[in-house]
Amino acid sequence: MLPKAKLWLGLIISAAIVWSTNLQAAWELNMPQGVTQISRDTYDLHMQILWWCVAIGVVVFGVMLVSIILHRKSRGAVSATFHESTKVEIIWTLIPFVILILMAIPATRVLTEAYDSSESDLDIMVVGYQWRWEYKYLREDEGEEEVSFFSALSTPREEINNALPKGENYLLEVDNPLVIPVNKKVRFLITSNDVIHSWWVPAFAVKKDAIPGFINEIWTNVEEPGIYRGQCTELCGLEHGFMPIVVHAVGQEEYDAWYADRQESARTTRAMADNVVTAEESMIAGEQVYLRNCSACHQPTGAGMPPVFPAIAGSAIATGPLRANIDLLLNGVTGTAMPAFSNQLNPIELAAVITYVRNAWGNNTGDLIQPAEVNQILQEGQ
């Protein structure tokens, strides 16, 4: 090696050592052990196969290193003439085979366990949308008030665009976290409304694709209360990096209280759909709805990203007939990225956002849409 290269190599290695000793505590190097039996079993499998690989690596690279050091021409090494040995070939075919069987046995056991989603205590439907998650708690009887809500990134855009300092849970925080009870077998039924997503919480070792047209099953049984964070792990378009998952695992009592509270607020929202809203209220609420649901594509300025994501500011639809605008929002546009929002937003939100886009950015139509009108159209549609 060149003396200069040696110097550089030395510098890099010593820098690496200083770094690693100073910062190792802060750096996450390994898979989390997690808080479920399956996640710990998975971690054990991971470590077991890792150590097998390290052991094989040490032997193979060891022999190689010895050869590189000793059997070099510059040391006067003369090459041997052997070039085959059936016995050796059989041995090094069989040994890896045995190691593989030793690995396959525990892996099969853990996998079988992970696939057994029977006899769950609680079932939650998880639906992937571009780019948020919907959680629906499956009821025991139809008469109960249904708890279902969307869970979307709550990190402000300003943090992403570096206008504000980033918070501790940057990109891993949501407006409405999923809440589950600890020490209960919770089954997730996972599907998607548009493209393929994947629902992953590392601490549970739960990862399952959300695929339109399919309902996948997976389960967990969390042993420690806490807040657990994950992310969508299947490329799902523009905002794939911005659809985190946050799960609050809480005690049964806290869970029950939370659930009752959610049912109560669902009742309230339904009741409010008959209220009459003012233009000012609508514009404020509509902007919030718009920023949460529409601005990733159509931009906060309404300018869009033509031609893929058309502008709303000054568009023929947002300044044209009201009914066409409402229909487009409710039903989406087939063959484009524009989804149907009729099942994603409630009538209050739908009415507010229509009012907003028809009056913001110079779209001064003066229209004010009431939740009841939207409700009427939704009823007609059914």
Partner: protein, 528 residues
């Protein structure tokens, strides 16, 4: 006949027409290699943009949509534009020389299969300048993101993939026809250099799976334009079918990108160890086994789609089995080095780095095969680290090793050894700083294909980016070394390397425009 034939024994035509109309395997090999190198730099530029954006959390340089275009185009260009054409170029140059044939069996088709490529890639890269932007759905283009939700440029992408596929199939047919029909007398199958063997098997893989890729993109085309619903659940289709078809192509495809590398390394290590390759026949059988297994493991890319337990178990066991023949290969290379008389010129350095770093990629591959563990690794940076270890210090290092190894034969001049070694060490250090920390990122929970990330991933991303810039910049040294070597340098002998075996070292350096117009002396053909 022989008189008429002799009339054609002139040198190459002058000017551009030499390259446009050439049917000479060496010219076409050169074209493939330059094309591949230019695509390597283009795909590398996209990678630099990705690493620049990921240097820090937050969005600094590009929008998420453009970021997705970059990851997609980087993957497509590296796989189809850089790695595959490089191996085809090496096959064109070296297979006729290695088996004592005057040229490829189908020279005109050879010209065509190359010249399709620049048009295919011009079309693909032109999508970057289209109003809708380039494809942004990842190089694996999973439906329905790539169909009902795709930018309109997807149609150009589909046509480009069709053209690349046609080119690959023609190239593969040509290689099979050449190897099976044009071997010099005495060059029996079991005397062929391993590079020829691995390419023969690779060519069969190409013919088997490229039509599947063509089929799957055609189904996409119909879903997008003609109202079918192959992959659209709303129309009764099945998005998972897409993945089965894609990976039935995709898994053999990854072996298409590594088997010829095995052949190259099996040529270089014996040369610089001055010792016969250990276990030649077991190398051949291992290559064939890997090729066979590659057809029955595709769904290990899809462990999280919700296959039944029996399916998961089958694909886990089959995938683990690949470790056995791959292990045999690694053990054979190490045994070849053991008790050899080694020197460490640049090709050998790259070959040794290949064995070590490819094996590390193999280890993580074995880890990924363990289905429950894969649930944690799947679609994270752990996977990114895994396949980049196999492809960059694996496939790409083998191509660089091959370039240094055969450059003197191609140009007649020795390359600059000092610069070659500098290129090696910078690449070796760069590639490890680039990809090793990505294992940690993946294990700690960073998904792949995201333009921005949570704060705990910052440090390793920074290190990875620094490694990326180092690795990227180092490749300009290779360009410089190659140009310098073409322009001049110490004259190379016919044998070039002291320990080199094989017919390619019996012809002059540079290899004359026409070689083996009469078959070589059978006495020159040895067991490898």
């Amino acid at each position: 006949m022989s008189a008429a034939h002799d009339d054609h024994h002139h040198g190459p035509a002058k000017g551009l027409s030499r390259w446009l109309f050439t049917t000479n395997h060496k010219d076409i090999g050169t074209l493939y290699l330059w094309f591949s190198f230019s695509m390597f730099l283009l795909g590398g530029t996209f990678a630099m943009i990705i690493r620049a954006e990921l240097f820090q959390p937050g969005l600094q340089f590009v929008e998420p949509n453009f970021f997705n275009q970059m990851t997609t185009m980087h993957g497509l260009i590296m796989v189809f534009g850089a790695v595959m054409p490089a191996f085809v170029g090496l096959a064109n140059w070296m297979i006729p020389l290695m088996i004592g044939a005057p040229d490829m069996a189908l020279p005109r088709m050879n010209n065509w299969s190359f010249w399709i490529l620049p048009f295919a890639f011009a079309m693909l890269t032109s999508t970057l300048f289209m109003a809708s932007g380039a494809p942004n759905f990842g190089w694996t283009f999973y439906a329905p993101l790539s169909t009902t939700h795709a930018p309109s440029s997807v149609t150009f992408f589909i046509f480009a993939v069709h053209m690349m596929g046609a080119s690959s199939i023609m190239g593969a047919i040509n290689i099979i026809a050449t190897i099976l029909n044009m071997r010099a007398p005495g060059m029996t199958l079991m005397k062929m250099p391993l590079f020829v063997w691995t390419w023969l098997i690779t060519a069969y893989l190409l013919i088997a799976v490229m039509p599947v890729l063509a089929g799957v993109v055609t189904m996409m085309l119909f879903d997008i334009h003609f109202g079918t619903s192959f992959f659209n659940a709303a129309g009764g289709g099945d998005p998972v079918l897409f993945q089965h078809l894609f990976w039935f192509f995709g898994h053999p495809e990854v072996y298409i990108m590594i088997l010829p590398a095995f052949g190259i390394v099996s040529a270089i290590i014996p040369t610089f160890a001055r010792k016969r390759l250990f276990g030649y026949s077991s190398m051949v059988y291992a290559t064939a086994s890997i090729a066979f297994l590659s057809f029955i493991v595709w769904a290990h890319h899809m462990f999280t789609v919700g296959m039944p337990l029996a399916g998961e178990l089958f694909f886990m066991y089959a995938t683990m089995l690949i470790a056995v023949p791959t292990g045999v290969k690694v053990f054979n290379w190490v045994s070849t080095m053991f008790r050899g008389s080694m020197t460490f010129e640049t090709p050998m350095l790259f070959a040794i780095a290949f064995v070590v770093l490819f094996t590390m990629g193999g280890f993580t591959g074995l880890m990924l095969a363990i289905t429950p563990a894969d649930f944690q690794y799947h679609d994270t940076y752990f996977v990114v680290a895994h396949f980049h270890y196999v492809l960059v210090p694996g496939a790409v290092f083998s191509i660089m090793a091959a370039a240094y190894y055969w450059l003197p034969k191609w140009t007649g001049n020795m390359y600059d050894e000092k610069l070659g070694k500098l290129h090696f060490w910078l690449s070796f250090i760069g590639v490890n700083i680039l990809f090793f920390p990505q294992h940690f990122l993946g294990l700690a929970g960073m998904p792949r294909r995201i333009p921005d990330y949570a704060l705990q991933f910052t440090d390793f991303n920074m290190i990875s980016s620094i490694g990326g810039f180092l690795f990227g910049a180092s490749q300009l040294i290779l360009l410089f070394v190659v140009i310098k070597c073409i322009k001049g340098g110490k004259k190379a002998t016919a044998e070039v390397w002291e320990g080199a075996q094989g017919l390619e070292w019996t012809v002059a350096s540079p290899a004359p425009y026409h070689t083996f117009t009469t078959p070589p002396d059978p006495k020159l053909i040895h067991v490898q």
